[in-house]
């Protein structure tokens, strides 16, 4: 994909992730070092009046997986997100994105969302990336 080929409003191909599992949360806890009990221990979640929730950073990791499936990892300059809704085991996350603005210096500003199958936005953000030119 070249900078010249991209139009503002261009929609990137949707990346559909495998459903979130409890084992994945354990695995992510070990990988990331985030052992917050709300992600791992049913009793603690219940005591807080909640259910086990996925790590927000796991969903952001899924979101950046989407971004780097569209744009080379090396060309990402900035990613900024807001965590909107909690994600629960069993939910399937879809990563959708759209080019908002072509900037002069071969960079684009795009929006990106992690949504569940019902379209509920879990994580919303933007990224800036440099897109190679044909020349």
């Amino acid at each position: 994909m070249f900078y010249e080929d991209i139009q503002e409003g261009y929609e990137f191909p949707i990346l559909v992730k495998d459903p979130v599992t409890r084992v994945q949360l354990v695995r992510f806890a070990g990988a990331s070092g985030d052992f917050h009990p709300l992600h791992l221990v049913e009793e603690v979640a219940e005591k807080a009046g909640m259910k086990i929730i996925a790590h927000g950073m796991l969903v952001m990791g899924m979101l950046t997986h989407g971004v780097t499936s569209w744009v080379s990892r090396k060309n990402i300059n900035k990613i900024s997100v807001r965590f909107s809704k909690m994600t629960f085991p069993g939910e399937t996350i879809h990563i959708v994105g759209k080019v908002l603005e072509k900037k002069g210096d071969n960079t684009v500003l795009a929006e990106v969302f992690a949504k569940n199958s019902e379209g509920e936005v879990k994580v919303a953000g933007t990224f800036e990336a440099t897109i190679p030119s044909k020349n």
Binding site: F28, G30, A31, M62, T68, V81, R82
Partner: protein, 161 residues
């Protein structure tokens, strides 16, 4: 930075005093095994995280870190979540990750060593439908073994009072 006065008689917290608080600097060597562990946990099958050859094809000198790897550096190199919340005097069970931003200024690959400085840069108190919340933003700056600033992270946690 002004602290809003809440009208429901709730005891205001001292979170605003946290602005400028610096955490102890920390360092972590970037290991290929941790990169792979994180990529697998996320379900990110991008071959650049698993194969040096594929990474080189994309112009890297070594296996690069996934975009959110800084969390690994922060939590395995610096304070864990529990200790960090204790230092900030925030209740672990009443905090959520609100916002996260990463600026990528240079390549970071397996074998690099990162040196991190971290401080609280902003505290905002907001009153919403579910009550009073404090938004505490920390900024982390990552330098490599050549003293190059390679990334900046801004992390906002939401503390529900």
């Amino acid at each position: 930075m002004t602290k809003s006065v809440n009208s429901i008689g709730m005891k205001p917290s001292n979170a605003v005093d946290l602005i400028g608080m610096e955490f102890d600097p920390y360092t972590l060597a970037v290991e290929q095994g941790k990169i792979r562990e994180l990529a697998l946990a996320i379900g990110d099958d991008n071959p650049i995280y698993y194969s040096l050859e594929e990474a080189k094809k994309e112009g890297y000198k070594g296996i690069p870190i996934p975009p959110t790897f800084f969390q690994v550096v922060d939590l395995w190199g610096g304070l864990g979540t529990t200790d960090k919340m204790a230092k900030l005097k925030l209740n672990l069970l009443r905090v959520l990750h609100g916002q996260q931003e990463y600026e990528y200024l240079g390549d970071i690959v397996a074998g690099d060593v990162l040196f991190v400085t971290s401080k609280v840069v902003d505290v905002v108190t907001k009153t919403g439908g579910s009550g009073v919340m404090e938004l505490v933003t920390s900024e982390n700056r990552y330098r490599n073994q050549h003293d190059e600033l390679v990334a900046i992270s801004r992390n906002t946690i939401v503390h529900r009072l």
